[in-house]
Symmetry: D4
Subunit: 153 residues, 8 copies
């Protein structure tokens, strides 16, 4: 089973992204979690991303706040599907991160989800939908998850 790579730009993003990691845990999907800033450690980011391959990983989830370059920079260095999560916070409360992630120029795609923890959950679920294309077990679990949504909350 392929893994998911999860990168956030700052330690302070951990709390929001964790809601997504819980989903991956719940589905029994393995992930590598890294804190690497695109702006403060471009070499470290490049090193990590160039180690990712479509043969071992199914998607990259990248979360960042403010002028959130991380998801776009990752997408420019890999051919894996990249899912961007704008982090809530700062004076603009994540609208800056949203625009920085979703308004990618043509040629380098990022699939952006909602600002904050809800987005982190959906980023995980989108990665799982991608895995489910070729993994019957994940597909089955997604089906059960969707049923639980109808009752639960």
């Amino acid at each position: 089973m392929k893994k998911v790579a999860v990168i956030v730009g700052s330690k302070s993003d951990k709390e929001q992204i964790e809601k997504g990691l819980h989903i991956l845990d719940k589905f029994g999907v393995q992930y590598e979690f890294k804190v690497i800033s695109a702006h403060r450690d471009p070499e470290g980011l490049h090193e990590f991303v160039s180690g990712l391959s479509p043969d071992t990983h199914a998607a990259v989830i990248a979360g960042a706040g403010m002028a959130a370059a991380l998801p776009g920079v990752v997408a420019s260095q890999t051919l894996l599907p990249v899912i961007g999560v704008p982090m809530k916070g700062g004076a603009l409360n994540g609208v800056d991160a949203l625009y920085s992630i979703v308004q990618m120029p043509k040629g380098v795609p990022v699939g952006c989800v909602a600002i904050g923890a809800s987005g982190a959950v959906n980023a995980a679920l989108l990665a799982l939908r991608i895995m489910a294309l070729t993994d019957e077990e994940v597909r089955e679990k997604l089906w059960q998850y969707r049923q639980s949504l109808k009752e639960g909350k």
Copy 2:
């Protein structure tokens, strides 16, 4: 090879989404293209979406403007990865569509791309990245496409 489903909410969205269809054509990927409004023809939409399966399709691209419910409604009726494209236009020029697509509540994921034609192109490329996970040929073509970006434009 799996297909991509492409749905827009209105005939007037065709021009913007076509930039994405060109990409799929260029990569030799088959797609089904439909104009179905989530608000004006919910039954028609449900009928089309329930015919899609992870065994035959790799992703759904859904483009809509204004209070753009289409991508979210599609995502609620399938387990395929859904990529939303906010259409440019109207008094708010697509910011309404952006918020209606990207701010999905947790549980039902949509990967949102940029407003308008740039977004349509990237939606196609994101679908291709998903296909490339299991399709060497698409992966190879993505690699070439990326090289062309460095020179080309």
Copy 3:
């Protein structure tokens, strides 16, 4: 006397919508209150909405947050007047919900009120104005309510 149907997309919307339910109680108008998410339980929503009829109900009040598809989806499944209430909250504090509800494409109308609890109160009052068209008692009570506004607050 006809009833009012009140639907919210999430349990967490209850507190805001309750200000509107109090108004309906005060006016002695019966309502059915449901928590059903358009995205997480589309079938449940469809089942409930298809049971509503202009012969038994005067209006539907639908409250939802973020990419708030609920009011529009309800309006696409009934011919009753639908009043949308954007819920306050999330990173955008309800602006996303406002745009998702008020910017409906032509053909499927929703009457949108203010974000949050003030909107919930006005949604109830708008439903009561609709009922007052054919109900002298409600009209009389609306008149008294309006007088009380001039003094009270």
Copy 4:
């Protein structure tokens, strides 16, 4: 059959609101159309609105641009359901009108529709849904209209 009152704040609003008047014409519903500014002719507005009654009218559609006080002022002077249409235009392209109409303080309800001509169409349709509560013919025509939406556009 009751009538609909339609008021706009300025001659320049006519073009946008006409899309809604066409709908009323198409449904064979009578309306009174007035151009009266809430700010420039408050007495004229008051005179017209005080002549409206739930016995003769089913709804008031009020369209205005910029600091659009018209719908709220009308709602403060009648107990009829008021539907507000924010006019597109000016430096803010109607966002000012949207906020001025939709963010009504609690106690005086206005049901707001989308900015511009799409909103005008939906305002008419919302008025028709209100009339359909007690008018079988309008209800039948709304049903046909909805069917036409599924094919037509």
Copy 5:
């Protein structure tokens, strides 16, 4: 010496407007302070405003929140200079009030100041500048106030 009329739309606006009343007190200028909602008590507002005259009053300060019609409605009923103060609060934190006050259509002027308590202070100072045109004492005090600004804060 002429007086200043000060009106706010709701009791909850008192705290913000008080910062402006303190300034008037400090300058020894008399004012009439009223809480009257343009939407909830249009008759009461009209009665109060029609009692104001350029012979007895120098300006009207009108503060309101959300879809803040108050300043514009006052300006439509008097020829006195009207100063509008957008109240901070609600889901949009006063941006709605700002747009509703500042974007007045041509013909009926309102001078708008900043959102919230800072605006209330400046509304008072603007009224005092108007009074200072014909009142040497106020002019002298404004001069001293300005000097104090340079040191103090």
Copy 6:
């Protein structure tokens, strides 16, 4: 009779402000019109503003675009009432100018009107309302102007 000083920050602002100058002409009120940028010619601005006095002038109308410092700088250098007009244009279409003018910190008041030509008209009318406090003729003309608004447009 006192005069009105009218300053804009750039030659390109002339077209918008002229709508206000026409009003002053129509009322037979004299004005001095200057093009002086607060940023490009601070000394020239200071020289002009320090020549203004409450004994000879009734108000200053200051129009500027983008980071529109002009009205605030003028208000910091005179005790006359200052009316700010945000100019429409640029990438943000005048929202930047609006915020730069209306959000003055406490202590230095500017009365802001709408963005663009409508604002210029209302700036002139607000200056005239100030003059009308002590000038019966202007007051009479304002009365007639208001009557004309009710019919005219």
Copy 7:
């Protein structure tokens, strides 16, 4: 070694700007820190700024909130590079300050950084980059600082 001039418009801006002063301290760079409002004390500001020279100072950091004229006014009175810091706070949380600082009309440049304390830090670092052009020691320390970013936070 040249100094950096740091000016904020209000005492309340001190807390945010201090994060930048710490950076200057850490790098052993001297600075003059002043609280002078462009609106409340234009003469005091002019006096301070005219004492600055490219021979003694390398840059001016100017922080202000709301209608933040300070950085632009400073830039109009000196030929030194000016770095503007929009202060977080008020009803618009600093967006007003951002627009007032970054949208400078052509001819008078200000380099704007992020809203609030993050911006203050980066303003200091930008001043240090300017100093590093001719100061080997600062350049060496910037290099070390950048290395520390990659590890720590």
Copy 8:
């Protein structure tokens, strides 16, 4: 005399940035102009930026639109002062680029100027102010330029 490096992310940005290049030409300052996208050609960008040094260059001007990562990525790879220019265009008309450039996280500074051609001019002038710190000739020319602004426009 040191040079200025000027980079834009796309050929379509040329027209806007040229207003800044004219300024550099006018001042007789040499520059290297490159079109390199941070997202489409990260390696090419890295190669160019790593060739820049404080010994040969005084500043980097980086212009980009939409999710404008270019200025931040450049700033992360050099210690030179980086000036960012948000390009006007796209559905959000440059607000996305503005937020992506100005809201840099702490540690990696970018000095942002206005959206579009005005910003390009000011970016050049800011680079010239930096050069003027150590270059008497540029300082003299800036002085003359400033004088011309007072008359000229």
